[in-house]
């Protein structure tokens, strides 16, 4: 999933302080699972903002809506007839949702309410960690199912670097060395001999380096 983290409320207040009719817009997908932008968080943020503006003696209308998704036209269309009621939207979907909202409702300011962090997993409640950087060309087949692009601080493709100590990364003793994990996993799969295969220079043109990306699937287009 896309993992996001709440923005400090002070930052959100700074974004919207000059508006009087505000919609807090949640998303029922990834950000709900990582407890940053779902219905519950919409409610918490809306209450906090109401409290803030009340204390400031300002009359500000704050409404709450949570859509099934903010990355699909059909769900964003559900609020079209309500949009004229607001002079600003705080989207607490990921950056994708914020942008798709802004594209669709061109004349309404849309502000981000979360920081979009990474593609990751829920290790336990309250702990999400990165697994993928969407480089566009998956190499997991040769790395025992563990990604050095996402999980090595230097994205070293022929690791580990000299900074791996006791299974941990040189930058933080809390972070596993991706290459230690790869080696452990290759060993468990009885494939440690594959470690010695040199990983060739990676084609990063499918990564961010190649510019904004798109996937076109004519077979499913109508």
């Amino acid at each position: 999933m896309i993992v996001a983290d709440k923005k400090p409320i002070e930052e959100i207040i700074e974004e919207i302080k000059n508006n009087e009719k505000i919609l807090i817009l949640g998303c029922n997908e990834c950000v709900t699972v990582c407890e940053a932008g779902g219905k519950k968080e919409v409610g918490v943020l809306a209450s906090a903002l109401r409290m803030y503006f009340l204390n400031q003696g300002k009359e500000v209308k704050i409404d709450e809506i949570t859509l099934e998704r903010q990355c699909d036209h059909e769900y964003l269309e559900e609020i079209r007839d309500k949009m004229d009621q607001y002079d600003a939207v705080v989207s607490i979907a990921c950056g994708v949702g914020v942008q798709f909202m802004a594209e669709k409702y061109h004349s309404t300011p849309v502000y981000p309410g979360v920081n979009t962090c990474f593609l990751g997993v829920t290790e336990e409640r309250g702990l999400w960690t990165e697994r993928c950087q969407a480089c566009g060309h998956c190499i997991l087949a040769s790395t025992g199912g563990i990604c050095p692009v996402a999980r090595c601080a230097k994205r070293v493709l022929n690791g580990p670097c000299g900074g791996s100590a006791k299974g941990k990364c040189e930058i933080d003793k809390e972070i596993d060395c991706a290459w230690q994990l790869i080696i452990d996993r290759l060993k468990a799969l009885d494939r440690l001999d594959e470690y010695e295969a040199l990983c060739p220079l990676k084609d990063w043109s499918t990564d961010r380096a190649g510019g904004p990306r798109k996937v076109v699937r004519e077979d499913v287009q109508q």
């Binding site: 601080a153 230097k154 994205r155 070293v156 493709l157 022929n158 690791g159 580990p160 670097c161 000299g162 900074g163 791996s164 100590a165 006791k166 299974g167 040189e170 930058i171 060395c177 230690q180 080696i183 470690y195 010695e196 040199l198 990983c199 060739p200 220079l201 990063w204």
Partner: protein
């Protein structure tokens, strides 16, 4: 091994001499005198001088410019190049720039993570890793080609080195990792600072058993302790360095005013010991901010005068 480049370092190794290298760190400023002064201190006692590339990710004068200074002094630089800060365009370009000054040695590294340095908020590049940089230099040198396939006029004639750390984890892949660097085309290795002789010798033996020592020259890295505090720091704080307790104790048991002398003594003992170890082809003396001690270490280790080669 056959000599493939005009590198003096390569010729000395190929002739069967123990090679001696050391390093200078460029300054945090643009004063060339600092490089010149450091090089003057060691130039008669080493065969080649590594110039570090923004080591520990602290911004400094660039390795290439400092290497050119050494060339202008008639010395033999080893340009260190990390993959942290440059993509494959910049790396190839700097390799050619170095080659244009007939810099004949390169050490291919990934580089410390930028979080250790003075620009922790900066991006890192890592378009290539250190093994891929080795492959890149070899490709440019041996195939006369750029990575993009175009021809290089006057290709770089560089003797290609890399680092190896026998003490990093996991130990079981330390030799396979060396094998991988050899497969990538590395020709000489400068090791991390060695204090744990037993482990280093085990690593060398395992490398020898795989036939790797016939394919790559190993320069053993040594670093003298300046003080007991430094020994403790290296033991506890520097990732990938192993300092046995008895060495820390020996330094700590030495009166403070004699500790630096004891550090040099230990370093010389280490070199003397390593000379007897099969597969050691030379020494990389890393006297960190203590370059003035290099001549003494080299002389007292019986490595002076340095050989001459054509």
């Amino acid at each position: 091994m056959k000599v493939k480049t005009p590198s003096k370092l390569e010729k000395i190794l190929a002739a069967g001499h123990y090679a001696v290298t050391s390093e200078v760190g460029p300054p945090r400023g643009s004063d060339p005198e600092i490089i010149i002064k450091k090089a003057e201190m060691i130039k008669n006692h080493v065969d080649a001088i590594n110039v570090t590339d923004n080591q520990t990710s602290v911004t400094r004068m660039c390795s290439l410019a400092a290497c050119i200074r050494l060339k202008l002094m008639g010395l033999e630089p080893v340009i260190q190049m990390v993959t942290r800060d440059r993509n494959r365009i910049a790396l190839q370009s700097d390799i050619l720039g170095a080659a244009s000054y007939d810099i004949h040695n390169i050490l291919c590294l990934s580089g410390d993570h930028q979080s250790f340095g003075d620009c922790a908020q900066g991006q890192n590049v890592h378009d290539l890793d250190s093994m891929q940089l080795i492959q890149t230099v070899r490709y440019m040198r041996d195939e006369d080609k750029f990575l993009g396939g175009g021809d290089i006029s006057r290709p770089p004639k560089m003797f290609v080195g890399a680092a190896a750390n026998p003490f990093a984890d996991p130990f079981e892949i330390r030799v396979p990792r060396l094998a991988k660097k050899v497969a990538a085309g590395v020709e000489f290795i400068q090791t991390q600072c060695i204090y744990n002789m037993e482990k280093f010798e085990l690593w060398l033996k395992m490398a020898g058993d795989r036939g790797l020592l016939d394919k790559v020259y190993i320069l053993a890295g040594v670093t003298p302790f300046k003080s007991a505090g430094m020994a403790r720091y290296m033991k506890n704080r520097v990732p990938g360095i192993e300092v046995p307790d008895e060495l820390v104790k020996r330094m700590a048991d030495t009166p403070k005013e004699k500790q630096s002398e004891e550090g040099i003594n230990i370093c010389i003992e280490q070199i003397e010991h390593l000379k007897g170890v099969e597969g050691v082809h030379g020494f990389h003396v890393m006297a960190i901010e203590w370059e003035e001690m290099v001549p003494d270490i080299v002389e007292r280790s019986g490595l002076y005068p340095r050989p001459t080669v054509d």
